[in-house]
Amino acid sequence: MTAADRPARRAPVRPARVLLHTFLVVTSLAWLAPLLWALLAALRPYAETSEKGYVSWPDRLSTGNFTQAFEQSDMAHYVVNTLVVAVPAVLLTLFLSSMVAFHVARFDARVNLSLLLVFTAGNLLPQQVIITPLYRLYLLVDLPGITASGKLYDSALGLVLIHVAFQSGFCVFVLSASMRSLPHELTEAALVDGASVWRLYAQITLPLCRPAMAALATLLSIWIYNDFFWAIVLISTGDNMPVTSALNNLSGQYFTDPNLVAAGALLTAIPTLAVYFALQRQFVSGLTLGSGRG
């Protein structure tokens, strides 16, 4: 179908369309309901809900719970913990996996197929398959003076390393596919002209992969921000936890006030939602890059 005949097909309102929209409106509201319910609880003072019950008409909505949850839990501190892990992890993952992808896409087809297999399969493993030895390894590695704990265990560095190692599997796969779709002559010609391999990678290939890199950066930021498992196991000091995992401790502290817990949980979702809304297209394309054939 061409773009030209689309407007002509805009039919008068058909009952099927009305039905479709009704279905979609009702279902999407049902889908948002748990989040909206949490938002409502977070906006109501505890005194009011404990007196009137949660299913009641709110007398007064305030952001008091949000400010209180933010200040009392020292959330800013935990967000900084997350940034200290996430920013280097995202950059390093993209840097390292783009180099492997470049190698895989441009040289040594046979070796590279196995390399690609190793990376991709590694990324599909459940984290729990490797966690026991990883935990022991992190306890064994002494890094006096480099990390505050003196070990890989309980350090931001340890979290960065496992994120990079684990996520690079996915990124190598996506980036190598993206690099392979670049015309071969491009790099061939530069090589003939005497360009070094590094120049080929940094100045010719990478700039052409910017859309894929942007999509992956968005995806990685959200995944690493949302990570719960690695930090729960590999961080022991509550103060060193990234914000998503710290949530678990915070909720224990405030379990008597569900409204406050709701506010805290929703606060930690704000950065993810902000990144998602700002970079929606990159996020979705990143998620579907590996799948389907679009």
Partner: protein, 325 residues
Amino acid sequence: MSAPTETDEPPRAAPTAPPPGAPPAGPTGHRRLLTRRDRITLALMAGVPALLHVALVWLTALASVALAFTTWDGIGFDTIHWVGLRNFRELFTTNPQFWPAVEHNVVWFAVLILLPTPFGLFLALQLDKRVRFSRVYQTAFFLPVVVSLAVIGFVWQLVYNPDTGLINSLVGANRPGHYIDWIGDPDLNLWAILVAASWRHTGYMMILYLAGLKSVDPALREAAALDGADEWQTFRHVVLPALRPTNTVVLVVTVIESLRAFDLVFVFNKGAHGTELLSILVTDNIIGESSRIGYGSAIAVVLLLISLAVIIPYLVATFRTERRG
């Protein structure tokens, strides 16, 4: 793909072959033109990241296998003792949590593949009909995939809380003597958590299928419409066959997500009675009260074998088509 972390870890799309339009790799030609320095650069470019990945992911996976045949208290290497299959024997015969955990993982997969997956496909089919406000609807369904599983756990606790939760308040079960304990009751809690997991999985599947539907040839649909095929027939004979690659990805992603399931359960009730999962049992042997390294590794090996049984055939098939391409 992490598949993703997903779980966790978040969710992730599994890889498939690159678009068929991609030129075949004929890259060996480059080699002749390389200087020595180039070769060293190249080796480092692939070697350093590969070393990191192999050391932290594959060597640790192998170490899990090795440790599964030992006992170790974690203090010094000389306390590692070979015990053969004892950990496995104990796991299969005497551990009261192992078989329930396996069953729950299987139930988790069965529910995800039977309910939210088809529903996600259904939503994708509806949203693919050039609906107005399609973006808005998509966002609503997709929001649970963006938010962390930990946050989802807390949000759903507000729904399930026996005293203050939405459900009990609505049905009047939030009074002493009438409580429905969605989180504590071992007959209910797995299903309660699965509702939350399905809520999230639906949006993920919808996005994968929406991407897959773009590959359905519009000309074929037009032809089917001209031949007088109704919506169901078009779906059955035109759309579904074109979605085969997407279905494979969906299957792999769903298996992996079911094996990785952890965060939600941990936030809900730490995998207590009724919600044991293999991933939880492994973690209990690290940060739980009874840390048994060899035993925890044996559970990890079970997880590893199940995942490899899915991952390897999938990747072999994927890369075979790629090579042919």
